[in-house]
């Protein structure tokens, strides 16, 4: 068993423990999303990533706005801006669905920080950029397609 696999397994059991703690109401979802398990970042493919994040079926929401170019010439730098108008937004996760490791970043907001994040991400292929918003213990999602002409993940 190599070291990486070990870490992944460790991360996975850790994520499980977090999910249990949430279910028991021990910690608020804010903390969990802000502290997304490292395993979620290493997960390959959307289903595994969502599983690692502990999100099963987020509801589609029109209150999430994703501002990203329709066509990105350079996949290494794709500007993405996500605004959540859902009251009580506590976390935003950004995923590029067809990246080898879809979870790009996640952010947790407290003490007056608004449901807004602006950053630049890498995209390997044309795919959906998905935002997953946590608000009041529930998860919501929205997606926008970005066409990529030159992939930005090397290889």
């Amino acid at each position: 068993m190599n070291a990486l696999r070990r870490n992944v397994l460790k991360g996975a059991t850790g994520a499980g423990a977090v999910a249990v703690a949430v279910a028991a109401g021990l910690i608020t979802p804010t903390r969990v999303l802000a502290a997304a398990p490292r395993a979620a970042f290493d997960a390959k493919g959307m289903p595994d990533t969502l599983k690692a994040l502990g999100i099963s079926s987020p509801a589609d929401s029109k209150d999430i706005t994703i501002k990203a170019p329709d066509i990105a010439e350079n996949g290494a730098v794709v500007p993405v801006e996500i605004t959540s108008n859902i009251p009580g937004t506590s976390g935003i996760a950004i995923l590029a669905e067809k990246n080898a490791q879809p979870l790009v970043a996640d952010f947790g907001f407290t003490n007056g920080a608004q449901g807004f994040i602006s950053t630049r991400i890498k995209m390997a292929n044309t795919s959906l950029v998905r935002a997953i918003v946590t608000a009041g213990g529930k998860t919501y999602t929205a997606a926008k397609e970005v066409k990529v002409t030159i992939g930005g993940c090397g290889g």
Binding site: F41, V104, F107, T110, G112, R120, I121
Partner: protein, 104 residues
């Protein structure tokens, strides 16, 4: 060592608009070196924390999927001109950097 960040924070109404530019290679660990054909080891910022006058307002986790020299923009309600914004990050190799700026 890590280069300093560029932080710009301005008030827009009662909301502080904060923009941060970090200096970091953000290697995914999946990219191959063109010359040697070897994988370039992963080297990316894993956690970012923003504080307003010492109180945490934003916590973020990142990975290699964020572009090189990451840009981060966020908004904080209830901040005032002259308040201090402190941004710190830590990468997967344990390197750290903290910078502060005043809201103008």
């Amino acid at each position: 060592m890590a280069e300093p960040m560029k932080i710009r924070a301005t008030m827009q109404g009662d909301v502080a608009d904060v923009k941060v530019l970090m200096n970091h290679p953000m290697e995914t660990g999946l990219r191959k070196d063109a010359k040697t054909g070897q994988l370039v080891p992963a080297h990316y910022i894993s956690t970012v924390t923003a504080k307003l006058n010492g109180t945490v307002v934003l916590e973020g986790n990142m990975a290699g999927g964020v572009s090189k020299n990451p840009y981060l923009g966020f908004k904080v309600k209830g901040a005032k001109s002259g308040d201090t914004i402190e941004i710190s990050w830590e990468d997967n190799k344990g390197d750290k950097r903290t910078d502060t700026a005043k809201i103008s």
